[in-house]
């Protein structure tokens, strides 16, 4: 079974491609709306030769990376401050629980208002939800510090800074890394979303341009690209998480807390 698994996976991918091709070519769906797989794939390859594709790709990556970095750093700093001071934690709880579920898209009109149709506006959108994701994880991580270990550390006379370094940090680290992994995916999705709506340079804007042209094969090709990009980010961060946390006894399960 173990050797069969990757083979089945490849079969599944091939099956999808074949089904797509057949459905488009036999006219089950109007080929004007769904170009065959081969056409889309050919277009994808063609796109890879276009400088304007790579410039859009680079813009998306830059926005994503910037937004993720800002969100992560801010979340770690603020999360550490709030997490380590019990009063602040209790005080900000309701505010956090109200701001957190606000859909990031609701931020879009606000962002446009503040910064116009620019990358800065997109960054506001890209930062919002990932920030909360990492922030919450930092809080969980700090709260998870074993009380027995804490008492032991205090009875050994460890200073606050030493306790932070040797006790809080290792406990909170897996949470932060998991939060970062989730934030990375969310940030990418929001980057594309922002580009589609705010129309700052990037793959999302290209998709919108192809939609309105209308350049249907180009549209589908770019959707495939965003999927592949998302896949790379998801798998890459999952791999990094496994490597970084291979020492940790409990492997965090995504979502179940």
């Amino acid at each position: 079974m173990r050797t069969i698994r990757p083979v089945l996976g490849v079969l599944g991918v091939l099956g999808f491609m074949v089904t797509w091709e057949v459905v488009a070519r036999t006219g089950v769906v109007d080929p004007k709306y769904v170009p065959p797989f081969t056409t889309t794939a050919a277009r994808l390859v063609a796109e890879l030769g276009e400088p304007k594709f790579w410039s859009a790709f680079g813009d998306t990556l830059l926005t994503w990376a910037l937004g993720l970095a800002i969100a992560t750093v801010a979340a770690i700093v603020l999360g550490a401050v709030v997490g380590l001071v019990p009063f602040l934690r209790r005080a900000t709880h309701t505010t956090v629980e109200f701001l957190r579920p606000i859909p990031s898209v609701a931020i879009i009109p606000l962002a446009i208002l503040l910064a116009g149709l620019s990358r800065e506006a997109a960054l506001v959108v890209v930062v919002y939800a990932p920030f909360w994701q990492v922030f919450i994880q930092v809080l969980y991580g700090i709260a998870d510090v074993d009380t027995v270990a804490q008492d032991t550390a205090r009875s050994f006379g460890l200073k606050r800074r030493q306790r932070l370094r040797h006790l809080v940090l290792p406990t909170a680290l897996p949470y932060v890394i998991t939060g970062f992994r989730l934030a990375a995916s969310i940030a990418l999705v929001l980057t594309i979303t922002a580009e589609l709506i705010i129309k700052n340079p990037g793959l999302g804007r290209q998709i919108d341009l192809y939609r309105s042209a209308p350049d249907v094969p180009g549209l589908y090709a770019l959707v495939l690209v965003t999927g592949l990009l998302g896949l790379v980010v998801n798998l890459g961060t999952r791999y990094a998480e496994r490597r970084l946390l291979h020492w940790h006894p409990s492997v965090r399960k995504e979502g179940v807390q």
Binding site: I4, V34, P101, P103, L110, L113, L196, I197, L222, G227
Partner: protein
């Protein structure tokens, strides 16, 4: 600290800090004619005059929430039904896993133009947009939850010949339910976002459409009020989910509390 005083402080903090923040907001915007940050008072007025009128509620709010509700219910049903079937069949799982991972990685908003091409711009398109993005967490989490069922419990069910619908209802579903609920939580937040997005494109009504409309018309206080409303909806959905989750997973929380000592 005695218990009563403690809970008073908690309540005080819970209510007090947001009030303080609002007051700070009011003070900061007092007297200025800042275009982008109206005073809380103006936002409150805009809120009541825009969203609490009968016309707006029936034309924009209710249809939006209705689509959201139908969309997430569809996603949950499809996700659980397909997820249990796939999760219980190892070869099917291996076959579909790469494609499912790919589909989940596509930013849902990128599929909106594709869906618009195929379905036009009516309600079915908006529903399809919501489902296209919110089904994945439920589907993938259900697959994982079913796959990871405790082998001892599986052996027990097999040896007592508990099969079919009974096994599904009393074994498979409850065993996977913690994972499924985690997926549902994500499904709800993604669904809400997609509800708004689906209305920002070539729509003529709905919450998302209205907020964008206000922004374009520079009706700032109204726009802010819309954002506040979305925030309230988000909080309400999260709160309802918490209640349901606590009930459905009461056994899970109970057993974890016990094992944590």
């Amino acid at each position: 600290m005695p218990a009563v005083r403690r809970s008073l402080v908690s309540v005080g903090l819970a209510v007090g800090v947001p009030i303080l923040l609002v007051l700070a907001w009011a003070l900061a915007t007092q007297g200025t004619q800042n275009l982008y940050f109206p005073t809380p008072g103006k936002v409150f007025d805009a809120f009541t005059s825009t969203w609490l009128t009968g016309a707006t509620i029936t034309k924009h709010v209710l249809p939006s929430l209705g689509r959201f509700a139908i969309g997430v219910v569809l996603s949950i049903v499809i996700g659980i039904v397909a997820g249990t079937a796939i999760g219980a069949t190892p070869w099917l799982r291996s076959l579909l896993e790469p494609m499912l991972e790919f589909f989940r990685a596509i930013p849902p908003v990128a599929l909106v133009p594709v869906i618009m091409l195929i379905l036009g711009i009516d309600d079915s398109m908006k529903l399809a947009v919501i489902v296209s993005g919110s089904v994945w967490p439920v589907l993938l989490n259900t697959i994982e939850g079913v796959r990871a069922m405790d082998p001892v419990l599986t052996d027990t069910s097999r040896s007592y010949r508990i099969r079919g619908a009974l096994a599904y209802r009393y074994f498979v579903l409850p065993a996977a339910s913690p994972q499924i609920m985690a997926g549902v939580r994500l499904c709800l937040s993604i669904g809400l976002i997609l509800m708004v997005i689906s209305e920002m494109f070539a729509a003529s009504s709905g919450l998302g459409y209205q907020i964008l409309f206000f922004q374009r018309q520079y009706m700032i206080a109204e726009m802010w009020s819309g954002i506040v409303l979305l925030g309230i909806v988000g909080v309400a959905v999260a709160a309802i989910f918490q209640l349901v989750e606590r009930r459905v997973l009461h056994w899970y929380h109970g057993s974890r509390e016990v094992s944590r000592g």
